[in-house]
Symmetry: C2
Subunit: 102 residues, 2 copies
Amino acid sequence: MVKRVRGSRTGRPIMVLLDLLGRRWTLRIVWELREEPRRFRELQDAIGASPTIINTRLAELREAKLVLLDEAAGYRLTTLGEELLRLFLPLHVWSEKWAKAI
Amino acid sequence: MVKRVRGSRTGRPIMVLLDLLGRRWTLRIVWELREEPRRFRELQDAIGASPTIINTRLAELREAKLVLLDEAAGYRLTTLGEELLRLFLPLHVWSEKWAKAI
DNA sequence: CAAACTTGCTACAGAAATTGTAGTAACGGA
DNA sequence: TCCGTTACTACAATTTCTGTAGCAAGTTTG
């Protein structure tokens, strides 16, 4: 069931997804989890945002089944989360090109 | 020259990009421009955000050379912007799969 | 020519989100 | 018992965003 979230009135999956990813720190958190699981505090240190908002975003990402908490290792991407990340990986290379252009 | 923006302390292109795209409505605006140019008010109506923030985001996207204002047709993606969009297009299909999973 | 419309955009007060700091509660090991 | 680690919460200050109204310049219409 698709949840209607902030700013997404239609409930269309792409809109819900864009809304979720368009919240501050969400993309960054997914990015930080791209290689290995991270502890809450590691994420906090790496990202530099307040624990309040990191926890809020993690809760949203967990509810969206993109991230899960593996007690033994820390937060990590679910299979879905990894799929999403894979779509984003080309951004890395492209961002270098973009940086040169601006 | 890469500008150090909110939340991006390193200045690494990927971080700057993730920060830019991770602001509310930014992804959504790029998405709305995917097919054809849009007027300011069209964007406003389609997105449902305040003109203040739409204008702020458009200014950021223009500075990032992802969007430009074509006086005759409206706001549209630059070549760079189109490249970025192309990376995001797979999200559309994937979001449908994701929606079924959650 | 004047009124009406369209254009991008700004002002501003109230509401909501985010920060920064401190601290809680549960658990494990020494 | 004390210390460290864990995820997480409280809360006031600050920043961002909203919602509504309107401006200024140009175009269209009567």
